[in-house]
């Protein structure tokens, strides 16, 4: 059970669920949740490769995952600001109803 493959398989499942959420949700906040799932699967990959890849001097996988988390935090803050603006302007958070600029 405690092998590289099991962690990578879990990460694949997380990625697929996140992708499904991003593709099927219409609510902007729900799409953001799907993106968080995808980022978590990437982080799981990085930490698992760090653990099983035998490169443990400077823990590059952990540091890389840390930067991904930093990126996710700033992305969530800006995305929610945009979504709240969208709600104020269009009174909806469904991303397919905000089509003012569609040609």
């Amino acid at each position: 059970m405690d092998s590289l493959q099991s962690y990578l398989f879990l990460s694949i499942i997380l990625f697929c669920f996140g992708l499904y959420g991003v593709m099927t949700r219409r609510n902007g906040v729900a799409i953001l949740m799907g993106i968080e799932l995808i980022l978590n699967s990437a982080n799981l990959n990085l930490v698992a490769f760090n653990r099983f890849g035998g490169l443990s001097e400077l823990l590059p996988g952990h540091v890389f995952a840390l930067f991904v988390i930093i990126m996710a935090a700033s992305e969530a803050a800006v995305a929610l600001a945009i979504i709240i603006n969208l709600y104020k302007t269009f009174h909806t958070v469904n991303v397919d109803e905000a089509h003012e600029m569609r040609g």
Partner: protein, 164 residues
């Protein structure tokens, strides 16, 4: 014992991730997302990544998830259950596409002969990560600081009261 706990955590991650993307009510989605994030933190513990597990809980569960719940509260009427999915044909198409991607990735995973290096349990990763951040990854660390500052300013600017 360890195996049982690992399987439990894995099941928690998969089931709650499923609920995140299929729940009809956005609040249930957010609560399920908390389960997924805690589960991933548990997996980090299995991977000897104690610092990453703590960061996962503090930043994801304590920060990003609270932010997302704020977003749900500010943009939804909680009392009415909301339909937040696309139409059925689109969902079926998305499921097929995701399943094909899943098959492709799984085949890749089990066909590749992964090289597994020697695995020594580290004494604790905090000191190593701190040292790495301030020596080898110093520039990345500073750029991350600038990124956080920009995100702070950008979010504050975008969500001002008067829309300029």
């Amino acid at each position: 014992m360890g195996n049982v706990v690992f399987i439990g955590v894995a099941v928690l991650v998969v089931v709650s991730a499923f609920f995140v993307v299929t729940a009809r009510n956005l609040v249930y989605s957010a609560v399920a997302l908390m389960g997924t994030l805690f589960g991933v933190a548990g997996l980090y513990v299995f991977l000897y990544a104690d610092f990453m597990a703590a960061v996962q809980i503090v930043i994801y569960v304590g920060g990003i998830l609270v932010l997302i719940i704020f977003g749900v509260m500010l943009t939804n009427k909680i009392a009415t259950p909301v339909l937040i999915q696309t139409s059925m044909p689109n969902r079926a198409l998305a499921a097929v596409v995701v399943f094909l991607i899943f098959l492709g990735l799984t085949t890749l995973l089990f066909r590749t002969p992964w090289h597994e290096g020697a695995t020594v349990a580290p004494e604790g990763t905090v000191a190593t990560i701190g040292q790495a951040l301030l020596t080898k990854y110093l520039i990345h660390f500073e750029v991350a600081g600038v990124l956080l500052l920009l995100a702070l300013l950008g979010a504050a600017y975008l969500s001002r009261r008067e829309n300029g």
